[in-house]
Symmetry: C2
Subunit: 373 residues, 2 copies
């Protein structure tokens, strides 16, 4: 199988790299941040605006879409692209993380997982094969294997058990996906192993050996310190082949993104940009600022100097603050567009810095201002 | 003083009329519906989209804007146009209605009204003169006199008392407004009189005699039956001079709008279009439909056949239903754009029917379908 990742430049002084990922709905320049569209919509923003910012790969949540609108609706519409009128690429997670974080009840066996819907309490049974089938109905351009997610503080024995099930499920997912006909979606394996280095290494090698088109690193950014995140990310990535696209799940703040890029990661996603936006927090070069604060009451300046979004080109900080104080929807709408525009622009700058072999310098100077040091 | 209203066509068979209202930020074709932007934003939609639909006159609420962002912020920005980046006309109400419907406490005297903010309980004193001054700071193209709003079930004596204060305040508002220099906003008087015909007549004649650029009819659409609304609207309008623009406050459903137009009304506003939208109710030629209903689950059709809004041109009823079921912001955003587009288009059709002397026929055939009869 031909690879879907083509490296276009390797930074001379770090593991950071530029590349192109070829998917069913077009090529994606990497490193790339993916906005999260849980229910087939990125919260608070039109799909056309997401596209106009420049994004051509967004994420959907299999767990949510499976429960609502449900597989029958998605089948009738020929998949999520047509249903949600999104013309570019979609990555879907496996639902594993949501089964563990959202459902009221779950029981894992070698066979699969039984869980209760957080919406109506209905009981559902998912197997690795069924999760691949659901993502085929969704029409995902990148799909993920069902895995067992574990919190950061479990014992070695429990972490190993989870790992073994994750690997068995990865094999079954891959076998089932390989047998599908007429489906262009690319299946990524997920490395787990909690915060045990030998398990991380074992998992990275096992998943890397299964001929997936891409590899995801799961189980990070789950509450550990930034130092642990950084250490385990670097350690795990060592054992993942450079010719495949690498994806770290659940990171989306500039500092974590830059850390991931420095370790040769190509893809990341997070709800932070959109969730924080709805709460009034916006990205700036000087760190995140909270728009509800009184300091912005008379401020005629833009959210972030030089930003090209609607908020920054048409409105003042004072107006955006007023919208949040008055709990107006437009506040969340403007801040969402801003945060997604900001991150897109950051990734453009990151790719440019890599191409010019100055990523390390870019990262240092960006973070010095971001942290105010 | 030259009038701001120019009649361009009188329907041959009814009181319905087309006209042009000349205001500080451009000419408005009437009859016209005005979207409500309580806090300096029409809820759930970008100003650019409101403008692109075709609207060039929106409403702001003086009570809300006075409390938040407050007069000092609006002064610093040179008014609401600049603060909210809305380039067309703004009508502001006087805050009278909100003082009576929202504030936790109020006390009316001949001098003015004392009330407690619904936001923080702070106490404020408004006089007719101060309300004009606030609207000058806002930079309103049409401003309204402070009036005393009464519920539909009060005694004749109370209705007369309220009326007399309303008239005294109207005279003081007019005197104060006339003395302002360098301000282009047009002050409208408000007819009250509750549901007593002699008071309605008295009020219409008194307010019409005060040389306001336009006349509003208040105290209707406050819970009375459609028949009473219709009867009192027709009766009141008789006594308002035809050369001034006439505005009925607080109506926004197609049937009430058509009734008002038939009585020679030129302007109306209501939160219905935008509030109902956020709750999943959308206008169609067959009446309002509730998008959360199961009947739409697999419906591939648009919200309303022939509508040019984003929802109708890019999405299915099934997708919009899904957004509302999943409580996604985009549902309210799309439905808001739809409802405002629908009403704008309806008013275009109304004006065309008037110009062709077939408004009565248009109204009958529209309502037959709207009511499903």
């Amino acid at each position: 199988m031909a690879g879907i990742f083509r490296k276009t430049h390797q930074d001379a002084h770090s593991l950071a790299r530029c590349g192109v990922i070829s998917l069913g709905h077009g090529e994606v320049e990497s490193p790339a941040f993916m906005p999260v569209g849980t229910n087939g919509t990125v919260k608070g923003i039109y799909h056309d605006t997401v596209q106009d910012i420049g994004y051509n790969l967004i994420l959907g949540n299999t767990y949510h879409l499976y429960l609502r609108p449900g597989i029958e609706v998605l089948k009738r519409f020929g998949g999520l692209h047509a249903f949600s009128n999104w013309k570019h690429n979609i990555l879907t997670d496996s639902g594993g993380f949501q089964v563990f974080s959202l459902s009221q009840f779950r029981k894992i066996s070698e066979e699969g997982v039984v869980f209760q819907s957080h919406i109506d309490g209905s009981r559902h049974h998912l197997t690795p094969e069924k999760v691949v089938d659901i993502q085929q109905v969704i029409g995902s351009d990148i799909l993920m294997c069902l895995d067992v997610c574990t919190p950061p503080d479990i014992t070695y024995r429990k972490a190993r058990e989870a790992l073994e099930i994750t690997h068995a499920w990865a094999r079954r997912s891959h076998d089932h996906w390989s047998s599908l006909e007429g489906f262009d979606g690319k299946l990524f394996g997920i490395v787990q192993g909690n915060f045990y280095k030998d398990l991380r290494k074992e998992s990275a090698l096992a998943i890397s050996g299964m001929d997936f088109p891409g590899i995801a690193i799961g189980g990070l950014s789950v509450g550990e310190t930034p130092e642990m995140f950084s250490e385990y990310l670097a350690y795990t990535t060592e054992f993942i082949p450079a010719e495949k696209p690498r994806y770290v799940m659940g990171i989306g703040s500039p500092d974590y993104i830059l850390d991931a890029v420095a370790n040769g990661i190509d893809l990341f996603d997070c709800v932070l940009a959109t969730r924080a936006a709805r709460n009034g927090s916006v990205f700036t070069d000087d760190g995140m600022i909270q728009m509800k604060k009184a300091v912005h009451e008379f401020d005629q300046g833009p959210l972030s100097e030089g930003c090209t979004c609607t908020a920054c080109t048409s409105y003042s900080r004072a107006y955006v603050r007023h919208l949040f104080k008055a709990q107006e929807m437009l506040g969340g709408m403007l801040a969402t567009e801003h945060n997604l525009t900001y991150l897109y622009r950051l990734m453009q700058d990151v790719r440019q810095a890599i191409r010019e072999d100055r990523f390390g310098e870019f990262k240092r100077s960006y973070l010095a201002r971001y942290y105010g040091t």
